[in-house]
């Protein structure tokens, strides 16, 4: 497998009123094309920060970041982002929010009708056809998050960067979208980097689980390879001993070695 995203010796400092704050240090991570990687760690450890670095929304204080062999100097259409707080534009309908992205990526090459079709398809994929013409404030938090996912998927990015995309969803919708995501990722050979709080979700979806230590100055504590056959079936996995081993390993890391900081 080819290296697709490379993060080398990256440090991230934030300037604060009390001087520089070291959010991340010594991050080394190489992600292969088509790989599904999740980032897990306690709240505030720097998962979003790392994801934003890969997205190119912030630049590292030191170290190198590459995507497809090229330096990451800013966001690019080959990297689709699902934001932690959905970030829909409140004055546009769900359809228009997604269409904005579709238009930008495919607008030059395709007809208007085709762009509309792509938009409809993306929204259908997350089960929101009925809410196409609603504005974000008229739909639930979970629905907003799904529009955000549709927007990112509609761009057919090579890398999908997702910041807790299913965090706000109920268990049923979440399971459904997890399955959809696995299917899409496999069908399109997309590379996915996803931030999550949910241990089951991490094990179910990932090829590798990247576990971050607690901040400040968080770094990668451990990387777990999840070697479960694909396609994965959530029901079948429940009887799979290896699944429970992986789960236990992540839990052990999170709750034993990186005890939640007293917040």
């Amino acid at each position: 497998m080819e290296k697709y995203v490379q993060v080398e010796n990256v440090q991230m400092l934030f300037d604060t009123k009390k001087g520089p704050f070291v959010a991340l240090r010594d991050i080394d991570l190489t992600i292969a094309q088509g790989e599904f990687v999740t980032l897990i760690g306690h709240s505030g450890c720097g998962k979003s920060t790392l994801l934003n670095l890969i997205a190119g929304l912030t630049l590292p204080s030191s170290g190198a970041m590459l995507c497809a062999g090229r330096e990451i100097a800013g966001p690019g259409p080959e990297r689709g982002v699902v934001f932690q707080n959905h970030s829909l534009l409140p004055w546009l309908t769900c359809f228009e929010n997604v269409h904005l992205a579709v238009e930008r990526v495919f607008g030059r090459a395709e007809s208007q009708a085709n762009l509309k079709k792509r938009t409809h398809e993306a929204l259908a994929l997350v089960g929101l056809t009925h809410a196409e013409h609603k504005r974000p404030h008229e739909i639930s938090g979970g629905m907003k998050q799904r529009v955000g996912i549709a927007r990112a998927l509609s761009m057919q990015p090579k890398v999908l960067l997702m910041d807790e995309p299913f965090g706000a969803l109920d268990a049923l919708t979440r399971a459904h979208l997890q399955d959809e995501l696995m299917k899409i990722a496999q069908a399109t050979h997309s590379t996915v980097v996803m931030v999550t709080h949910d241990v089951d979700e991490a094990v179910l979806l990932s090829d590798r689980i990247v576990m971050l230590t607690n901040g400040p100055a968080a770094t990668i504590g451990e990387i777990l390879h999840v070697e479960l056959e694909r396609p994965r079936e959530r029901l079948a996995l429940a009887n799979e001993p290896k699944y429970h081993e992986y789960r236990a390993a992540v839990l052990e890391f999170l709750y034993h070695r990186q005890l939640r900081p007293a917040a």
Binding site: L57, G74, P75, R79, V81, W91, H137
Partner: protein
């Protein structure tokens, strides 16, 4: 029905009280006309609002329209310059720093202090009055627009970056809609200022206009007409304000 009654009752009582106090005060000071006398005079005045008997004797309707026209022109020019300027000041730090001292110096200047400059430059009363409207109503629009641009949530700009939107799309899909509520607040404040200022400016410049009309009636010692003018100015101001509130509601996305 009951609801409408409940909503109307308090303001109605307020108005009645106001008229009552006015009538009482008028009774004890003979120069001040009471409500009944003013009403009679108003009925007569508004029975023929659009007459013309020479340049200085025209119906109240013409006077109101003349003032509104001045406000419209002065305010329109202020919007045409102030809003784009506000966008640029909000977007470019350098421009902000450059214009900040000028704005903070000129903004607090009393509107009428600009009148002599206008008279000097334009050598005529009408453009001078428009100039005063322009200069006093431009500040709220510049400042509110700039603040709106500064307050755009980083999230929206992140969306723009991630989607790699063109400058034009950023402007039409993000900047403009995000700033619109601030802009409309600026416009409302500006219209308010413009309408406040026009009366005073016209008193000084003369011609046709509600401000000049007040001055003229003062010279004629027609106090009823002055009171009517106060109500007219208030009501027109209220209508302008309401029109803009409606405009704001029309463009709000919530």
């Amino acid at each position: 029905m009951n609801k409408i009654f409940k909503a109307l009752l308090p303001p109605l009582i307020g108005l009645l009280l106001f008229v009552g106090v006015w009538a009482l005060v008028a009774q004890s000071s003979p120069q001040l006309p009471g409500p009944a006398k003013t009403w009679a005079s108003a009925v007569q005045l508004f029975s023929d609002p659009f007459y013309r008997k020479g340049p200085n004797d025209q119906g109240i309707g013409w006077n109101i329209l003349a003032s509104l026209q001045r406000v419209g022109i002065g305010f329109g020019m202020a919007a045409a310059i102030g809003i784009p300027l506000g966008f640029m000041i909000g977007r470019f730090q350098f421009l902000d720093a450059m214009t900040a001292p000028i704005i903070s110096l000129l903004r607090p200047v009393s509107p009428l202090a600009w009148l002599p400059i206008g008279l000097l430059v334009f050598k005529a009363a009408n453009p001078a009055a428009i100039w005063v409207i322009f200069i006093s109503s431009i500040w709220p629009m510049i400042i509110n627009t700039a603040v709106g641009v500064n307050r755009i949530p980083q999230d929206y700009m992140n969306v723009a970056k991630v989607l790699n939107l063109s400058e034009w799309k950023i402007f039409t899909k993000i900047l403009f809609p995000a700033v619109l509520p601030y802009m409309i607040t600026g416009i409302r404040l500006s219209i308010g200022v413009a309408w406040l200022v026009i009366v005073a400016a016209e008193m000084l410049t003369g011609g046709v206009g509600i401000g000049f009309w007040v001055w003229d009636e003062w010279n004629n010692l027609n106090v009823e007409h002055i009171i009517i003018a106060i109500f007219v100015v208030g009501i027109v101001g209220l209508l302008l304000e309401q029109a803009l509130v409606m405009l704001a509601k029309r463009f709000s996305y919530e």
